[in-house]
């Protein structure tokens, strides 16, 4: 049909200027992604005005490659420093940091880079081939279906609770509770804000994330710095993962990319959610679940493939329907509007030349990521040669800058430090912060979509059963909960007895 437009897009991208911009954008994205608190969305918004003067192809290529670069960059700090550089790299910490403690940081970073590359490439191909087809799927997801997704996501808490289930539930419950702070969507009533205007918009989960992961890590580094033995990791192995490792991880990467594309498609969920879903599924499908959380490469590959696959996934509804799939793509949509292109389904037809340029830029940016990533990651590894005390101070400084940069608010810095101290107590008490982060991410989605569903369904719970998608997702959620309880074992008990001779 419009294969000519596809080719026009490709030739648009393949100019010296644009390739330079893609490389530059990817590198910039890597830097931004590696800094805790600086997100892809923020960098896109800052870069946007600069691209006004570029021609559409160059501007969009640069923005798209920045988005791709930032999606990988977050994992570098997550693996080396136990500080997720972006919210979507939080799941990478769970296995990435233990790996680097074991001196396998190079392997972890290499796997993360390759998983990101494959995830990004797959979503780029999905974008190129199936955008119009998949785009219409988005309209099937209303509040009712979104609620079911959030419920399914929350059940992950059960399987993420390392060690004690009770402490995992405590952490998750606290996260959900904290997510209710702020203005109630349906009544406009401020809840648990204590008339503190800075809390009206709720607690920004990025602020909580920085505090919960990074501050305890910095404090632990300081604690151990006089003991001589170095906690922070060195790269003692090579960066390029072995072909056999990649082959072994391929099913995991493919599955995680699929998860990333679908989660990216749905407006209201993004890389932060997708990475947890992918991690959980990788664990569910693994033969030896006990190695997760102690340094399992599959636990790095899954979230990283997923969060890069979100890029293309989120662009699918943006391009097919003019509905942004994530906050980052909302800014990319803004970039299109500045070029005089109004959001709508005619992006692929009337403005096909510009849109296909964007799609090709995403695909090329993933190749650029592989090149730039290899060089940049080697450089970033020199971080591990710095003494722990200095690293701890640098982490704390970055935390403060990052927390401030989100809303230019000193209040958020205080909030981050508060979460930091609480996180430090949690790490001492052996409570994992991961469920709390999931609660904070999914709590608002769940609550808002529940209230909307109740309004739409005239206060009847039946509304959830009228939607086939929601019903299936809720059944999956129920099975996921039951799996974490002894229920299935009880079911099997009578059968086992029958087999026994007595």
């Amino acid at each position: 049909m419009d294969s000519s437009l596809v080719m026009i897009g490709l030739t648009n991208v393949l100019s010296f200027n644009n390739i330079a911009c893609i490389l530059g954008g990817t590198l910039l994205g890597l830097f931004v992604g590696a800094m805790p608190g600086l997100s892809a969305t923020m960098a896109l918004a800052l870069l946007l005005p600069l691209t006004f003067s570029f021609d559409p192809a160059t501007g969009l290529s640069m923005l798209a490659s920045l988005y791709v670069g930032a999606s990988y960059g977050g994992s570098i700090a997550a693996i080396l420093l136990r500080t997720p550089g972006t919210p979507s790299a939080a799941a990478t910490v769970l296995d990435g940091f233990p790996l680097s403690q074991q001196g396998r940081a190079g392997e972890a970073l290499g796997v993360s880079l390759f998983a990101s590359f494959f995830g990004g490439l797959m979503s780029g191909i999905a974008l190129l081939t199936a955008a119009p087809l998949l785009g219409t799927l988005v309209l099937e997801f209303g509040p009712v279906e979104l609620f079911a997704i959030a419920v399914l996501g929350i059940t992950i808490i059960g399987s993420l609770a390392q060690g004690s289930v009770i402490s995992g539930l405590l952490s998750g419950g606290l996260g959900l509770l904290l997510s209710t702070v702020g203005m109630d969507l349906t009544t406009g009533t401020p809840r648990m804000t204590f008339d503190q205007i800075n809390l009206f918009g709720g607690i920004d989960f990025t602020v909580a994330l920085i505090g919960l992961f990074s501050v305890p890590q910095a404090l632990t580094l300081i604690e151990n710095s006089h003991q001589g033995g170095k906690v922070a990791s060195r790269i003692t192995d090579r960066l390029m993962p072995r072909w056999s490792t990649i082959k072994q991880l391929m099913p995991n990467i493919l599955r995680s990319s699929g998860i990333g594309i679908v989660v990216g498609l749905i407006p209201g969920t993004g890389g932060d959610t997708a990475s947890w879903f992918a991690y959980n599924e990788a664990k569910r499908f693994a033969k030896d679940k006990s190695r997760f959380g102690k340094g399992e490469v599959a636990g790095v590959a899954a979230p990283e493939a997923a969060n890069n696959a979100v890029v293309g996934g989120a662009l699918i509804p943006t391009i097919a329907l003019g509905i942004p799939g994530s906050s980052s793509t909302a800014i990319l949509l803004g970039a299109l509007m500045v070029q005089g292109i109004l959001p709508g389904p005619n992006l692929l037809t009337d403005y096909g030349d510009v849109t296909y340029t964007l799609i090709w830029a995403v695909i090329l940016a993933n190749i650029a990521l592989l090149v730039v990533g290899l060089a940049f990651t080697k450089m970033s590894v020199s971080v591990t040669k710095i003494p722990d005390g200095f690293i701890a101070c640098a982490i704390l400084t970055l935390c403060i800058i990052g927390a401030f940069a989100i809303n230019n608010s000193l209040f958020d810095v205080g909030l981050m430090l508060g979460f930091g101290l609480f996180g430090y107590w949690m790490s001492k008490a052996g409570v994992s912060p991961a469920p709390m982060v999931i609660g904070l991410i999914l709590g608002p989605v769940m609550e808002t979509s529940f209230q909307q569903s109740m309004l739409i369904g005239n206060d009847s719970f039946g509304v959830f059963l009228e939607s086939p998608i929601a019903t299936v997702l809720l059944i999956l959620a129920l099975l996921s909960i039951l799996q974490a309880t002894p229920f299935f074992r009880w079911l099997r008990v009578p059968f086992k007895r029958r087999l026994k001779p007595d």
Partner: protein, 326 residues
């Protein structure tokens, strides 16, 4: 540290771009640099307005504009700062979104600023309200929607951009004018509300023209009526509510305000700058390209517009607040 350097570099470059045609106009009494407090995140609608207006305003006034983003509490953090803690020398202004500017404190006692503490300078754009439904919707005309609401009150679901936003209040205005009752479903912004209508998850979405124009043009949404004085040139086939006998003109507007008590001369210079800007054909063309509906109202007229809205919306909220907080 990279982060800091990056932001610094971006700021410098952004400033260099905005300054490139060196300004040489009359001296602005408010200083060489004007800080613009932005109540929303960079990249949103307010930022888009700033990118359009400020480079041109900077040429007219001969000053640099520096954006300071302080998002949160639907703009209330920035507006509280503007009203209570900003120097009253004309060196600090803010983008003011109406009716959000007023509904913020009308609905929440904890928000303490009021429009009395501001000097309205100029409204720049108004995005008229519009009623959209899914293309598969049984409602072909606005009368169909009215009839459905009449037959089964409180069941027709109407999406809006959030409690306190313009669409929420427009829905109430319509209910009161026609004696109808809708089921109001709030979303987090105009986009999700439009998407829900597109997928048929709600019966209709009360939205703004700028957000849904592309979707209406391409047939993903059907427009039933606009809340404008006259039919829009961009959507000539869509009737106004006035034509349908409902006297409601509503939308979401963005303009600029300074704190109360700035020097008269600074106020006058700012107002004149906006009046000059409004006549600039290049500005008008750029605004049209970005689907922004210019509605420049300056000085006392902008104050009157704000005061009128304030009393209207206060009245509406008084009459419905018990029902909303059910």
């Amino acid at each position: 540290m990279h982060a800091k350097a990056l932001r610094h570099w971006l700021t410098i470059t952004a400033m260099a771009i905005s300054l490139s045609p060196l300004a040489q106009a009359a001296d602005y009494v408010g200083g060489d640099e004007v800080t613009v407090l932005q109540g929303f995140k960079p990249g949103g609608g307010s930022d888009a307005l700033a990118q359009l207006v400020q480079p041109r305003l900077s040429e007219i006034l001969g000053v640099d504009f520096v954006n300071e983003y302080m998002p949160g509490a639907t703009g209330a953090i920035a507006w509280t700062r503007l009203a209570k803690q900003s120097p009253k020398d004309g060196g600090t202004i803010s983008i003011t979104n109406t009716p959000m500017l007023m509904t913020n404190y009308i609905m929440n006692d904890a928000i303490t600023y009021s429009t009395d503490e501001l000097t309205p300078i100029a409204n720049v754009v108004t995005d008229p309200g519009i009623v959209v439904v899914s293309p598969d919707s049984p409602y072909q005309t606005i009368e169909d929607l009215f009839e459905a609401a009449e037959q089964s009150p409180g069941t027709v679901t109407i999406g809006n951009s959030g409690v306190g936003g313009d669409d929420f209040f427009t829905t109430i205005l319509l209910e009161q004018a026609k004696g109808l009752s809708f089921k109001k479903v709030p979303f987090q912004g105009d986009g999700p509300s439009a998407t829900a209508a597109m997928g048929g998850k709600i019966d209709a979405s009360f939205n703004n023209v700028g957000n849904v124009y592309g979707q209406v043009e391409s047939g993903n949404l059907r427009a039933l009526a606009v809340f404008a004085e006259k039919r829009l040139t961009s959507l000539p086939d869509v009737p106004t509510m006035k034509e349908k006998g409902v006297d409601i003109v509503a939308g979401s507007s963005r303009g600029y305000s300074a704190p109360a008590g700035i020097p008269d001369e600074a106020r006058q210079q700012l107002i004149e700058a906006f009046q000059t800007l409004a006549k600039d054909p290049d500005f008008q063309a750029q605004a049209e390209k970005r689907a922004m509906n210019l509605d420049v109202v300056t000085g006392d007229d902008y104050r009157a517009m704000i005061e009128q809205m304030e009393s209207d919306y206060r009245g509406i909220w008084e009459s419905v607040k018990d029902e909303v907080g059910r």
